[in-house]
Symmetry: C2
Subunit: 328 residues, 2 copies
DNA sequence: ATGAAAGCGCTAACAC
DNA sequence: GTGTTAGCGCTTTCAT
């Protein structure tokens, strides 16, 4: 930067200003600086800038795993929107463990991220507390809560469970099962399902929760387990489409007609849901949009701070949609 | 850090050392420092550390998009391996554009990443040159080349095309088509296919390249296009499984029996390939392992530098595998 | 084994 | 509009 300043015949600050606040510099010097930068191939050290300005233009995001395309899609939207605004994405994977998430949050805080995106609303207590106290812009995604750390943008996993229960009941099913993952948001969907069913005086047959990542084989195995538990079973809600496809497979193998003998509903609407035979009825959530929206909220917070605006906790519900196909 | 030093009754340097080089500090002071840190809830500012030490412990990675689960899987492996070694992943999306990639490389260099992972071996000339000159650890993935920037770990897209051609020929097909994306690695697979076929005195019918992201509908539409171009078509190689499934759909719609009337081969072995009916014969590449391996190479480079070892360009071929299912 | 001094490369106040 | 003066919070030498 020293060199650029000399080359352009100005002081270092002026170079800095020409880069960060172009409008605070006369067009002439701005041009001179640009030219010097070009000539010297100067690349500003953003690390030094971050240290001095206390703004890193980095957003940290933590998802359980990128292997699940719904999270990957959300990160795609997040990275794209953030990138367009000149922010960088630092990504971490929690493996569905709150303590691993806590470790990543620490690391990100140490790196002075300007904001954070966390998956879900359940975190280590220390994390919630720290983040609240720091007043760091934080967006929780993929679920809802009345008491977000800062802002939450997602959908209600409990309502999804209830809606699927309602749908299945309406189809005339009474013996309903659940195949889910060993994971808090899956539990909530099950909870919603159970609530609604209990209200009708019905129970729900639940398979042993699957340790992520879910596979098609897990889905098949779980359906078999469910059938052993309750041979009368008429319908099953699978906590994700992968398990749903597995359940479909097991039905096929056993000669069960879908949906007549067994109705199957999935979750997340992967491409596979539309492509399998019979096509899988599922719940669609807008993963990518979720990421975009999370980015927008962060960006707004980060600029809002500049305009002395103090934002308060907010709950943004993006909703969901039952996609009716052939399987239920 | 000042506070921690005071609390522990030592100098700031000692705190720094206790954190970064624990073995250079007596066990007693180390414990005192740890205690003080605990008591004060001190979180080191890694930005400042990076600035001072010129090592950021950040790796930048650029993929075309995270929406394609093969890239997401690779990033999953990368992030996991890197995270375990105390490195953070900064992620960017190029949207399949070399100039967008170049912009991200600039941004990452400005952030002083310790290493870089790029998708593919085709980049803006300025990028290659810059990176080479900087001697920054760089791993190119998802393809191979004789002339990598630094190290390349992937598979040969050309050989994949040739292998699929060989497979299809062996199945007895002579009229072969290609459905691909508007993208350099897809082109290479087509190139390989064409080479092998040309060697047999055969041609290949190619559909209009699909602008990413590919959809199932794109695949269906492309198969229709191919059939219009060449009604005798016996087999088609689709540049990814999504297109393959689309092709399968179109065959079904037209009452074409697969593989008797039309053989279909996909690429990447998504879960959907095994789940659709008929199951899709495809080419499997180890996406996640690719990411892990890329991370290992970087880590080795980064430590190797410490041991004064100067590594030279390397080509690591992870190969591929044709997964024979029902569709071809 | 520990400390003192000197930056890392930039930005934020203030002056001019 | 531009320059001057101080740091940002840490890690290096190099002494001790």
């Amino acid at each position: 930067m020293e060199d650029v300043a000399r080359e352009a015949g100005v002081a270092r600050v002026t170079v800095s200003r020409a880069l960060s606040h172009p409008d605070k510099v006369s067009p002439a010097t701005r041009a001179a600086v640009r030219a010097a930068i070009e000539r010297l191939g100067y690349v500003p050290n953003l690390t030094a800038g971050s240290l001095a300005s206390k703004r890193s233009r980095i957003i940290g995001a933590i998802v359980p795993t990128l292997c699940n395309s719904w999270f990957a899609d959300a990160m795609d939207g997040l990275a794209e929107t953030l990138g367009a605004a000149g922010y960088q994405l630092m990504l971490g994977q929690s493996g569905y463990h709150v303590d691993q998430e806590a470790g990543l949050v620490d690391a990100f805080l140490g790196r002075k991220v300007d904001g954070l995106v966390l998956t879900g609303v359940v975190h280590a207590p220390s994390v919630r507390e720290r983040l609240r106290r720091l007043r760091l812009p934080v967006v929780e995604i993929w679920d809802l809560t009345d008491d977000p750390i800062d802002t939450v943008v997602g959908f209600s996993n409990i309502l999804i469970g209830e809606a699927v229960a309602g749908y299945l009941l309406q189809c005339g099913h009474r013996q309903i099962g659940f195949i889910g993952a060993e994971e808090v948001r899956s539990d909530k969907r099950m909870q919603g399902l159970r609530q609604r069913l209990t209200a009708e005086g019905l129970g729900v047959t639940a398979a042993t929760p699957i340790t992520p990542p879910s596979t098609i084989e897990d889905g098949a195995r779980s359906l078999a387990e469910l059938l052993a538990l309750n041979p009368q079973l008429q319908a099953v809600f699978c906590s994700n489409d992968t398990l749903g496809v597995g359940a479909l497979f097991e039905c096929h193998r056993r000669g069960l007609r879908v949906p007549q003998d067994m109705a199957v509903v999935g979750f997340s609407d992967l491409a596979i849901a539309a492509a399998c035979v019979p096509a899988l009825t599922t719940v669609r959530v807008q993963s990518r949009e979720l990421g975009c929206r999370a980015a927008q909220v962060l960006l707004q917070r980060l600029n809002g701070a500049a305009t002395a605006e103090v934002p308060h906790p907010e709950v943004i519900d993006l909703g969901f949609q039952i996609i009716e196909r052939e399987s239920a």
